[in-house]
């Protein structure tokens, strides 16, 4: 039984990674999860300089999901490179680094710096709804997607994954723009912009007013977008959005994802990633599927 997956020349032992921002740099969950079981660890977004993030409250619970407006707090690339990459390299897993910025120049700076680091792939977050500049704005216009993808492709030594925003009319258009500019893969979906109001205090539940919705609630939207993107482009897709168990992950794979990421579910069940891996294998055994590749996009 083969669960290996190769994307842009990088081979993952299984198709399961973590969704950026929900697993820290891996370190925080290493007491709970054997990181060497994972196909890859995708790290929290990293920027050229340290970012303090948004004021609190940064999260709110919603029906079957949560809103977050962390605001991409991160220690900046220097600390990240010096501390987190060596930590992750101790494990038998691939490293995908999520990259954030406020301007194209910011993104370029991080990507150039990471080019000489020992990481396997870069995931470019052009879809964070929680920062005022950059982030999502890049991901909502095909021209911007193309521009930033093109600029980063020139600089990156590792393959790059463009992480798309679900807050768009036509996800296929964004996927095509990423492909046209040479992206090696796309990942989707980032969170969907949402809002919660505290009716007793008559105020926003989040200091940032809006936040990104994640968790099981958004899964049907994510599966649909993965399917639409898979129909539109030939690029490998990393699918995510509300995956908590193997059944959920298999929906994404059958819709066309080559890999999947577990996000919010880590908070609710730190063993989620490993259970997803075990469950996919159990499914393959149950139905006599020899190669995970036979399941990718099998529902048309």
């Amino acid at each position: 039984m083969n669960t290996n997956i190769t994307i842009a020349g990088v081979t993952f032992k299984n198709p399961v990674t973590t969704a950026s921002g929900t697993f820290g740099s891996g370190m925080e969950y290493s007491d709970f999860v054997d990181l060497s079981r994972l196909g890859a660890v995708t790290t929290k977004g990293v920027s050229n300089v340290p970012w303090p993030g948004n004021p609190t409250p940064r999260i709110a619970e919603t029906y079957g999901g949560m809103l977050n407006a962390i605001g991409l707090q991160n220690p900046g690339m220097d600390v990240f490179i010096q501390r987190d990459i060596p930590f992750l390299r101790k494990y038998d897993t691939k490293i995908i680094v999520n990259v954030v910025g406020k301007t194209i120049t910011d993104y370029c700076e991080v990507v150039e710096r990471l080019s000489d680091c020992d990481v396997d792939m870069l995931e470019i977050n052009i879809s964070c709804p929680n920062v005022k500049e950059g982030g999502i704005a890049f991901g909502q216009d095909p021209k911007c997607v193309e521009d930033i993808t093109g600029e980063l492709k020139k600089r990156a030594k590792q393959p790059i994954i463009m992480k798309l925003s679900p807050n768009v009319t036509d996800i296929a258009e964004m996927a095509r723009a990423a492909q046209a500019a040479g992206a090696d893969a796309i990942s989707l979906i980032n969170t969907i912009t949402g809002m919660k109001i505290d009716i007793h205090r008559r105020s926003f539940a989040l200091a940032n007013k809006t936040g990104g919705l994640s968790g099981p609630a958004i899964r049907p939207i994510a599966v649909r977008m993965v399917y639409q993107a898979a129909q539109a482009v030939k690029l490998p897709i990393i699918g995510m959005g509300g995956i908590s168990c193997a059944e959920d992950a298999l929906e994404f794979i059958m819709a066309g994802a080559s890999m999947v990421a577990v996000g919010t579910a880590n908070f609710i069940n730190p063993a989620a990633t490993v259970q997803v891996i075990d469950g996919i294998e159990a499914y393959m055994r149950q139905y006599g599927v020899d190669d995970i590749k036979d399941l990718i996009g099998c529902v048309k």
């Binding site: 921002g21 929900t22 697993f23 820290g24 925080e28 969950y29 007491d31 709970f32 999860v33 054997d34 929290k44 340290p50 970012w51 303090p52 993030g53 609190t56 409250p57 940064r58 999260i59 709110a60 619970e61 029906y63 079957g64 999901g65 949560m66 977050n68 962390i70 707090q73 991160n74 220690p75 900046g76 600390v79 968790g215 099981p216 919010t264 880590n266 908070f267 609710i268 069940n269 730190p270 063993a271």
Partner: protein, 255 residues
């Protein structure tokens, strides 16, 4: 604790201390054996529409029986669900999480406000030094009698129905309480007052903070508070309450 995950704890007892305050004893040996005062548990709801854990402080630890006591106030749907738990029911928990109070062995003032009082009970039991205990309430008192074996107990109520009328600082001033260190838990305005008071008096103070949490283990950066210095982990002036706290020295954080 390598690969320590969520555990199913068994409810041993659930009683109400007042209209909206509940006291639960739950059994989970491993947790009880490693728990320290000031740490907390993440409690998960059985209702699948509510995903996030509810952080609740450890109120008492019974290592012999492998049990933990939690005392909580009805706040929303999650705590309402916990209030309905019956003996033999199970609940999913993670913990003990965070760093508790750091016993310093100096003459101590333990200050609790409202639902910040419970975590001081186990601390009062374990602290091996002279203790004065100040408990602040809006009106009705709870848990105060359980502190009596461990030190002198002073009460304040906002409506003056018991003890000093006013807040905990008023009670401290009224009774001219002196100590070298403060251990405190309660609402932010109270903690802010205590921080100022401790500074004024030249005392050190350990404060237990609160913020909304998602992961509870330091990964998501939901639960930060502002810190005086750049934090070694975050590399910005933010500390994670779940992982670096919930207890901090007053002078290291902004309130």
């Amino acid at each position: 604790m390598p690969f320590a995950l969520k555990k199913k704890a068994i409810i041993v007892e659930n009683t109400s201390l007042s209209e909206d305050i509940y006291s639960i004893w739950l059994e989970e040996r491993e947790i009880a054996l490693s728990a320290k005062p000031g740490q907390f548990l993440s409690l998960f709801c059985n209702d699948a529409s509510r995903l996030l854990p509810r952080p609740i402080s450890i109120c008492e630890i019974d290592k012999a029986k492998g049990r933990i006591r939690l005392v909580f106030r009805l706040a929303g749907q999650g705590t309402k669900e916990f209030a309905r738990l019956k003996p033999a029911d199970t609940i999913e928990v993670m913990g003990p999480l965070g760093n508790g109070f750091l016993p310093e062995g100096k003459k101590a003032l333990l200050i609790g406000g409202g639902i910040g009082i419970p975590p001081l009970l186990e601390l009062a039991k374990q602290l091996d030094c002279e203790k004065q205990i100040v408990l602040g309430y809006r009106d009705k008192t709870f848990l105060n009698e359980e502190f009596l074996p461990y030190g002198a107990v002073y009460v304040s109520t906002e409506d003056g129905s018991s003890g000093t009328r006013g807040n905990v600082i008023d009670a401290i001033r009224e009774h001219k309480l002196e100590a070298e260190i403060i251990y405190a838990c309660g609402p932010t305005p109270m903690l802010r007052g205590i921080k100022a008071y401790a500074k004024e008096q030249g005392m050190s103070a350990q404060l237990s903070l609160e913020e909304r949490m998602a992961c509870g283990v330091g990964a998501c950066l939901a639960c930060v508070c502002k810190s005086r210095d750049t934090d070694h982990h975050t590399n910005v002036k933010n500390k994670r309450i779940c992982k670096d706290g919930p207890v901090f020295y007053a002078d290291t954080i902004e309130l």
